[in-house]
Every structure is written in C-alpha cells, then in structure tokens.
Symmetry: C2
Subunit: 336 residues, 2 copies
C-alpha cells in the first residue's frame, strides 16, 4: 500500500479508500485512475482481492462435483466445462466434495465469497438431487443430474433416446430376439436405468416386436452381473440373438460369458453397450458398439447456460448420446 501510494502520489488512506470504494466516492476519477494504475503497475497479483471488491465479480466459474473429478470417466465433463469457460477467459475452479455436505457448504461459501460468476453443480452419475440453498445466490446449473425441485436449469444425458437408438440399431440389423441387461431395477428410479429401458421398450414396441420377458435382466451395472446374466441368457436353450447391455461394464461381463460358452460376438450374438468408456469399449475384442455419454458436450452446455445468465427456470437440456460404431453388431445368423 505504501508503494502504491508513493507511485500514485496520494496518501495511503486515499489508496485504502479507493481500493474499497464503490464508484462515485468522493475522489475524482483521475485520482482513482492513478491509484488503480499504480496498483496494476506494481503487480495485479497482490491486489486481486481489492480488484474483486471494486468490480464485484471475479473471472472465475465455480465447479462443485461430488466425485466427478475423481471418477474414472466423468472427468471429461470438467474438461468440457473448462474449455468453454477458458474460451471466455474465465477460469474453472473445481472443488470435489466427495459427497461431504459440510465440505460442500464450505466450498460453496468460499466460491460465493470470492464472487464467482456462476456455479456448476455436477454429479458423477445422472440422478435427481437436492441442490444446496446457497446456489440461489448466484447463477447456477445442475450438471449430469436434475434439480429435484425443478428450479435450477439442468443438463443431463437423454437416456430414453439413447436406449431407443441402441435398440433401434439392433432392430435395423435384423434382430427380433433382443435381450436387455439393465444396470439397476426400475424401482431404483435411476434415470439411466429407467430411461434406457424406456427407450428399449419404445423401440421394440414401435417395431411390433414382442420381447420374451426371460430375455430381460436387471443387474447392478458391473462386470460381475454382466457375466452372470450373460451366462444365463447365452447358456439357455432359447437365447436372444442380440443383447442391449445398459452399460459397457455389463457388456464386458457378457463378453467373458460368451468366451466361456464359445459363443462368437457378433457371429452368434450381437452386443451393444452404453457409456463408451474410453479405457474399455475400444479394447474389447471385437470392439464394442455403444452409445457415448456426451460428457464434454454436457460440460460445455452447462457453462453456456451460465454465460447466458442461468435463470432458475427449471429448464432441462437433454443431450444426445451419439452411437459409436465398432464391431459387435451384425445381422442375425438366421431368421428366428
């Protein structure tokens, strides 16, 4: 402050007052300018706080994730958000709460106190969640989830359309005996499980296909259930010619079951997954045809909402999950 005062040719008290004053204080525009010039000349660094006090906003967007930053795949959501923010010269400040509500409250308090331009509140997996009340104090968007109260704008994957696209891909290849291994029960209410199943149901109904109920299983989204239900479905005397696995890990389990039963993919059975996990789907043999969770695009969209002001209008933006073609789907061997 001493240096700033000397450089600006004013008293330290003036510097103090200018740094903390709202526009229209009793100093002339010229004096204020000289103080800020001196501040900037002597290094913006030590005065970022003063600058925010003066201007009321910082060049930052807050990103609060439950375990997004540390979950193996949803991290791309941060990349997308950050890329979009940085295009506008904004930094994305990420805090990972691990679901700890006290840490979350402290994080939000810190972000709001530092005058972030907005907050992205992100979940590791798509669900309906209760948002912290403090988000009402700043433009906010719920990402990879939906606000239970329907107030904050949300960005989430279009699970129904994804399930429809996956199933439609199998139908167009000529399959009518199409099984599904879901990643949770419908009673769970998990949007991915409910939505992907609904898409499957719509696609088969539209095609006039009546699905054998024994072709449908509800696992827990891991490789273990994929393997177990894969053994059941593929080991049965009457088996589906195609299986929609509601995530890639389930599909991996079905691959292992098929290998054990010496059933060829896609020769004997076509498999389609969901998620397009980057370390898994391309490396299965054959490569897994699947739907991609558009994490990066979702991250960008959330920041776009903030840049547009993000009113609490309950808007829900459902993002398309593109089909990623690899080699696990072909025509059925014979008409059933």
């Amino acid at each position: 402050m001493h240096d700033v005062a000397a450089a600006a040719g004013v008293s330290q008290a003036t510097v103090s007052l200018v740094l903390n004053s709202a526009p229209g204080s009793r100093f002339s525009a010229d004096t204020r300018q000289r103080v800020w010039d001196a501040v900037e000349e002597l290094g913006y660094r030590t005065n970022a706080h003063a600058k925010v006090l003066r201007e009321g906003v910082s060049g930052m967007i807050g990103f609060i994730g439950d375990t997004v930053a540390t979950s193996p795949f949803a991290g791309a959501i941060i990349e997308g958000a950050q890329e979009r923010a940085w295009e506008e010269g904004l930094l994305l400040l990420t805090i990972n709460t691990g679901g700890d509500k006290k840490l979350e409250a402290a994080s939000l308090d810190t972000m709001l106190s530092y005058k972030v331009a907005g907050v992205v509140y992100a979940a590791m997996y798509n669900r309906y969640l209760e948002v912290p009340k403090a988000l009402a104090g700043v433009p906010s968007v719920v990402l990879n989830a939906q606000d239970k109260d329907g107030k904050l704008p949300s960005v989430a994957p279009d699970e129904v359309r994804g399930g429809y696209t996956a199933t439609r891909r199998l139908i167009e290849a000529g399959h009518t005996q199409i099984g599904m291994i879901n990643i949770e029960t419908l009673e769970s209410g998990l949007p991915a499980a409910v939505g992907r199943f609904e898409g499957y149901r719509q696609a088969v109904a539209e095609a006039g296909i009546e699905v054998d109920p024994s072709f449908i299983r509800f696992g827990e989204g891991g490789e273990t259930h994929g393997y177990a239900y894969g053994m059941e479905l593929l080991g049965a005397s009457r088996r589906p010619t195609a299986i929609f696995c509601a995530n890639d890990r389930t599909a991996w389990g079905v691959y292992q079951a098929a290998a054990e039963l010496q059933i060829s993919i896609p020769g004997d059975v076509s498999i389609i997954g969901f998620d397009n996990q980057s370390t898994l789907a391309p490396f299965l043999r054959p490569g897994l045809t699947t739907l991609e969770l558009p994490f990066a695009a979702m991250g960008r969209q959330a920041v776009d909402f903030l840049l547009q002001g993000a009113q609490p209008d309950g808007q829900v933006k459902l993002m398309d999950c593109p089909l990623i073609e690899r080699s696990s789907v072909s025509h059925p061997k014979e008409k059933p």
Copy 2:
C-alpha cells in the same frame, strides 16, 4: 460498507481503513474488533476478499493438474490431497490446465493473487518436468513427477522398488523364466519405464537368474501392444513361465493373447501387472495380481509437505507401491 459502519458505530472511512489496514494501524483494537464483528455479523461472504487482504492468507490450497482431474485413474490423487487439506480446514481449489501453458499461467496467477497457502503442481503420469517460475512465490510441491531442476520438493511413486517387488513376487513363486513387457523404451527416460525395468533387473540379478533377452519387449503401455507381445512371447516354442507386465493395460492384452492361444493363467503362465487400475485389475479373469500406484497417499503427502512449509530443498519423497494379491500368480508347472 454503509451497513457495516452503522452496525459498528464508526464512519465508512474507518471501515475502509480497518478492512485494508495492516495490524498496528492507528485505530484501537476495540474499533478494529467492532468493525470485524459487524463484517462477520452482516455476512462473511461479501468480505472474503477484504479478509484475505487483512490476514494475508486464504484458507485454500491450489492444485494445478495437467490432466489429472480428467485422467481416468490419477483422480484419486486429488481425493487424497483434498482429504488431507480438509482435515486442516483448508479447501483444495483445483484447476485443470490440459497442458495449456497460457491457461496454466493464468491459473497460477489467479491462485497466487488469491493468496493460496500453497500450490500442488501435479502431473498425470510420473515424469521430470519444468515447473513454472511463478511457483517460486509460494510454498509448492511437485506431485506424481519430479522437478527437473531439483528445486521444489517432489512426491513420486517408487518405480524401482515397485518393479523389484513385482519381479521378486514371481521369483518367490519359483519362476526363473521371467519375461517383461515394458510400457516404453528405456531411451524415453520415462521414470515408470526406466524404474520398473531397473527393479526387474535388480531382482533377477540378485536371484542369479540370467534372463533370455528374447523374453523382454518394449511396448507402448496399451492393451494393443500387450496383446501383440503376448502373442509373440506365449506363442514361441520356448516361452517364459511368468511375465511382468509393466502396467495393467498391457497385462489385459496378454490375457487376451493367452485366451486366444488357450494358455491358462496362472496354470501355464503367471502374470503380474502394475498400477492396480480400479476398473480393470479386479475384473480380469483371473483377478490380476499387481502393484498399486498409491495415488491417494501421494496426494496426502504433497499436502503434508505444504503444511510443513515446503522449502525448495529438492527433497524427493518416493512412495511405496503396495503389492495387491489376486489370482494371476502361481508356481510354475515344472522346473525348466
């Protein structure tokens, strides 16, 4: 400021001066206390910047990662760092630069301007790197990497000891025909490749085992090279009875080659990996015995260094990679 002045019973100019004054300014302790009490009563939130200006430090640690937050597995490093920081009531503010040097500079500038208590500078994979000069201005630690100039304290995995432990595990099971598929050439200088190989070399030398040079391969760390070199090593007339794969993805490729060649793991060949990738190693059949990269412990250690003041003393803390036993290692079938 008007409200604070009214609540504290002082003038607005006094509030301004107190908010910006160093201790020992011309106001009495009582006046200063009244101003700060009023500030806190009226909401800490809008005054975090003033508080930092007054106290000179914020309750935050900065974490700058290249792609740590978005790489599938290194994210646990953030969890560890954050957990340790939060134990001290500090928030971990993460910025993910994606390797963009301009973004990195802006991020560092922001963090320093916001008076973070220290900065963790983290890399997605272990290497020697040039650290930004700005880190000299604040306690800093290099994480999952080492400062090329040997100045900043660093926390990195003990790759040599890990390679030694992995190889020693195979030797103790009775193997003498031990191959290795590395994840890079030694010329790459990549600590994981060079160190894990050095550990392998030490273990076999110590046991008096002379390794057939044809049992050693240098891949690129992916499943594709694991598969290709697995086919070569396991398809040869004279083959190793055990293979140390220098990462889990390489091991997965070898598993696929073994399945294709109808070679049983661990019956015909024992496999040990490295990394303990959470979505891969436990789900291979049989489960992969491997060394764990201690990401969470490394993250904690980095924050510990900061809490201790983190002098630029060039200290390098090498963290042990624990052996994770599963089912891919057994005794060799017969003495060679």
